[in-house]
Symmetry: D2
């Protein structure tokens, strides 16, 4: 890296990234404020990593992709490189995902100390202008990566807590998805050739690129999310017992797992949330649905899920501009952002001309483009900088431990 790298970089990029970095790193710790060292350990299922692991893995990301190549990574035991590698095969065989919950060592204080060392090294390099553009891009990627894990930390912890019969409360004042009393209505779109994908000027992940054209047939999309009250009708009308609404794989899952309601519903009227067990609000968006359930509900309602292209096109037209504050969010009844993630009918795949980033970091997104579905929007737990139009979240259609719901769509005859 040239010593003079900083000369070609706008001064405010250093400053903005330093600020983002500090905010992001503090936020990760703030999320764990009320947790004991024991809480930091729990892993309720192979997919639900412990808080300590999230704190360590996000730190490993900066250490591995940013500091180590610069020779600035504080010395740590060799095993940490394996323990906190999530899935980057290019960096060796990672520690088994299902065994993250037995890592009592390194202890939490050791991880927190390591985070401080990384903080200092990153900020020093920023102050002294040691990063070139490519490294600043990696830094920005690392920040966005850590923000993704902030949401995962909460969904994973909620799941792990749900396996404790005592159903511990994360925080009585935790965020939740806002309710809406808006009646269901439709927005119609003519379709045609539309522009899809992220603007190259702003930060985005490689899977949001390249921008490209997509042809849409006419469609309509709902003005609001499906609510708990809506969904209770589906349950009451035996939606979970009638195969006609279900995809074949979904029906098999319903029967094998004996699903009768969304995940975390304690019964037909109560839900286990970050605030503990709560009475279901019929006007709040239904949450903790698998893709199969979202799809089945949509069929039962005579509709379908939107494609991710329909969703993006509609959101471009209809979504509110970036919210200045959390308060505004609470009145955001359409729920495009900041409420719950919205399943689409689109399988997660590459955009035309897609190229993963080079090197091991190229494993970030591309290798998961198989058998998963795209979710759009964001949830109440998504950090604000990630609430963007082109963001493509993805999970397997059987997954339901995220904050996931749906918005209805339908095709429109134009004749």
């Amino acid at each position: 890296m040239p010593q003079s790298a900083q000369h070609e970089i706008a001064d405010d990029r250093y400053g903005q990234l330093a600020e983002s970095f500090v905010l992001c790193r503090k936020q990760s710790l703030a999320l764990c404020d009320g947790l004991t060292a024991e809480d930091h350990m729990i892993q309720g299922a192979p997919f639900a990593s412990p808080p300590k692991w999230h704190l360590a893995h996000t730190n490993w990301f900066f250490a591995t992709f940013l500091l180590t190549p610069l020779g600035q990574h504080p010395s740590v035991p060799d095993s940490w490189h394996t323990l906190f590698n999530s899935y980057y095969n290019g960096l060796g065989q990672p520690h088994a995902r299902a065994e993250r919950g037995i890592l009592s060592r390194p202890a939490l204080p050791d991880i927190l100390a390591w985070r401080e060392q990384v903080d200092e090294a990153v900020l020093l390099s920023l102050r002294e202008g040691h990063f070139d553009e490519a490294q600043l891009d990696l830094l920005e990627l690392g920040i966005q990566h850590e923000m993704q894990h902030q949401e995962l930390l909460l969904t994973d912890l909620l799941f792990s807590f749900s396996r404790n019969p005592a159903l511990p409360t994360y925080s009585p004042t935790a965020d939740s998805a806002p309710a809406s009393s808006a009646p269901q209505d439709w927005h119609r779109f003519e379709g045609g050739i539309v522009q899809i994908g992220a603007d190259p000027k702003d930060f985005s992940f490689d899977n949001e690129h390249p921008q490209h054209r997509h042809f849409l047939e006419p469609f309509a999309i709902a003005n609001r999310l499906v609510t708990n009250g809506d969904y209770q009708k589906f349950i009451a009308e035996d939606g979970y017992r009638d195969p006609q609404w279900w995809l074949s794989d979904g029906w098999e899952t319903v029967r094998r797992e004996q699903w009768q309601r969304p995940l975390h519903w304690v019964d037909g009227d109560r839900i286990f949330s970050l605030r503990g067990v709560q009475v279901l609000d019929p006007l709040a968006p239904v949450c903790h649905l698998s893709g199969y359930e979202a799809d089945a509900y949509a069929r039962w309602a005579g509709c379908r899920l939107p494609s991710e292209f329909e969703w993006e096109h509609a959101a471009q037209a209809l979504a509110p501009p970036k919210q200045p504050s959390d308060r505004l969010m609470e009145v955001n009844h359409p729920g495009w952002f900041g409420s719950v993630w919205q399943w689409t009918q689109s399988a997660y795949g590459p955009y035309p001309g897609y190229r993963p980033d080079t090197g091991a970091v190229g494993e970030y997104n591309g290798k998961f483009m198989s058998s998963q579905w795209v979710l759009r929007g964001s949830s109440f737990a998504t950090p604000h900088p990630q609430r963007r139009l082109s963001y493509r979240n993805f999970f397997y259609p059987a997954d339901r431990w995220q904050f996931t719901g749906l918005r209805l769509a339908k095709s429109v005859c134009t004749t």
Copy 2:
């Protein structure tokens, strides 16, 4: 059904369907010509149904959807309605797929007699004009359905035979995919808005509809299929040991299943086929690849799989017109049809405006639109009437017991 139904139907539709029906039904039996009653029983895995079951299930289809509603279905034991229902939940809980191989009763002669009864009932109704247009459509669907099972009967039987250490030969003169000595080359396409989907005038499945527009970016597609010789290089260069080429789910499958080469390869140079163990022809198309292997090969080759839309658009332009004879097939080196199925990168989903057929027969295609990938073209074992441009075959990306290979594609920069 009105007695006068036939008045409104073109005379030749009756005749053509009668001819197709007779040919199709004979062909199913011809495929089983050299098989013993014991061979008709074998099921080498839950997905590989026995020949007897295929003969019975295809008959059940006519009986259930065509004859029973007309009150013309020959009386059979109640259990047969369950035993030979494949997956139509609307008709009750089917017999477990994995247990088709233990059905020694009904005996083969009983199934063959039932087929004769159904043949007679159908042909009588055709002769006497008892079918209206909707019923003729169902008859045509039943014929196409039985043709699909003719290919499955062979792929399933090959798999089941492969589990017998003696590796029995189906027939020393069985068909196989033709070799080609054409060097690899590229066809380039400009893209733009293209027409996708089946012409409503000809027979097609519901999943090929409706015809609609799709926007394609510029791309190139290979002039021929990937060959055994090509694929041997991928193996020789450790393709099965390097995670960088593989989708995440694919890499997990490779390791769990300890894949080292395509299915049915006895070693690096020989393959078990319908003709028994054969020396691999380096110029023949590589076959028995999973979608994961096809995708990994394409990455290793610096390319990618085509989307199903690219494939259809290219095939419209490049595929040879319908072949008058098998002989022509053998010189058909591009292999668009009649060679091996070609994996695409497209997840199997609904076309915009897709509607499944109504009633239980609506479970035919729609409910599988999750987690599977589309294959295009056809194989040497595909009956000729099914070798059509718009045909969408679909399997899970881990499946490899079909006659499946690939054709390379790549994106093209236009600047």
Copy 3:
């Protein structure tokens, strides 16, 4: 082998073995009389081998252990040595047990022809006196081995038929366990040092040796078997829902497998048997119990299972002498022999000083002495020559597809 081997062998041993051999071989075929080639193929679970496999495996036993060492084995394809080896690792890795049901080839006629060749070779050698004493012992072992498989053929076939929703009938006149109207009563024994094990003069398996002394505390044993009527009370009183009666492993099995009644009970009053679906006779012995169920029933009844030593000691004193005819069997209400096998509380292990036979045939019994339980007596399907006092049958305590029931026992205070 010396040419003069026969001079030292009693003439009648040749003759008796020839007679036993012929009778035994005919009986195996007679059991399959009403079966189609397809019926010969079915395998309803990994443990339930197809009839054809039983016919082939018993033939393989003679071929492998008797004829091959003499150079008299008719030539067969190499793969047969693997396919019909059950579990003799000393002879190479056997074909997977779970895949016996897919062996359409070799065809049934080929197996039957092979049996005829072996019959001829064995009988010729017997006539010409080519066998020495050790070989005659192996011949006798082979006959007893084939008799064991005659019973297994029936239990396996019954199980495989039970997986066919049509519940095919093996034979309307098949044997069954005789009913008894005897009231329950007790036989008391003082115990002390008793003699256990087979008389070396008669045929017996290696696991019945050596004869040895065993110390018994005073005990009582029931005069008859537990009946269907007895067992229906256990079910009616929620025996399957109360963990207090069950061994820990048994309770786990009950819950995992959702057991509610014995295997093959269609409901609380009917049973699927070799005669098809039959009304349960409350006076017939309860059958198709796992060891766990037998043990739980005994606890619920305030008793326990007998040890195999108690059983043998009591049977020596109480069992009727060898029955001259089947008719006598039907009035044999105590059921020591020829009714259903009786679970004991004894784990299957070696007698003091036990030595397995030498060579691969030593794998016959010894290597299974772990985690299985001993059953004593015999069932209605056990060939008469095997109904002997010292016979030790053994199955895992979760197994219940055999003809298995129980006789109660209890400890007796002598003060």
Copy 4:
């Protein structure tokens, strides 16, 4: 309970139990001295419970069986009764064993406080003479129960640590099994009727009763345990690759689990122990063997495992009297006690006339009398009061995470 209960109870029983109780409770905490709260959480497999769970479960035992019936149990959340119930179905459905590792709540300090409350309540009742004889018996059972868990806490923790790639050290000065340079030799016994089982005067578990007579044939038993050096020869001579030495279930386990050496051996020369990774001492007893491995080794050595009756009879004659100190233990080369547990060939079952304790505590031992094998002696981690002649430890033959080895035996011909 009568106020005057204490009048009939020897004064020193109160005192002795108070002393034992205090020592035992302190020892449990002492074992956890160097552990963090995070270490207290880890569960490396369903069978390896976390230290915190052991501390809570042993406390639950006193609370449930002793204090609650007296109305003296400190109030705790309802869920604790479920969470810390191990397997007593008579007290409701316990929390799933595999999910003990996710119990971050109750926190470790809450468990420690609960232990203090129970300590106080028990000691107060003892001081004030509130316990009658039956309750004192339960108290003694609870102490012995907690001592069992002290050893389990170490074996479980060692296993859980072994799943951490960093292989954390429990304590550099932890106990280990003493080495012995004694050459292998044999002790011969005539057999005959011997006395088996615990003296009713001393404390023992119900499964060691009643004392009874057993007949033994002549046998010989080794003067010392099998060593690491002995066992390395078995490995070097391909013991893990030759099925002839293995029980059938054992061989299947070896292949499925790909066993190549004892558990916790890092390679052929090093072992992971409570002291961290250590060079194997060829004179130390081989440890972390499954029953299958112990049995296979014995066969390979031309011997067999002793029965538990042979072991007890020999130990009565040969074992050193109770050791006054740990120092003596280190020169105890025969290893009857305080070295490693010794697998026997005896399946774990009831002694003649066995009766479980009444009530839920009766589930302590009796319900496990199926499919497990008896181990005799004790290990270096076994608390001293449990190192007794009649103690019957039991595990499944596939288990190998305990401190388990073997002593050879053989049958002796007396002619």
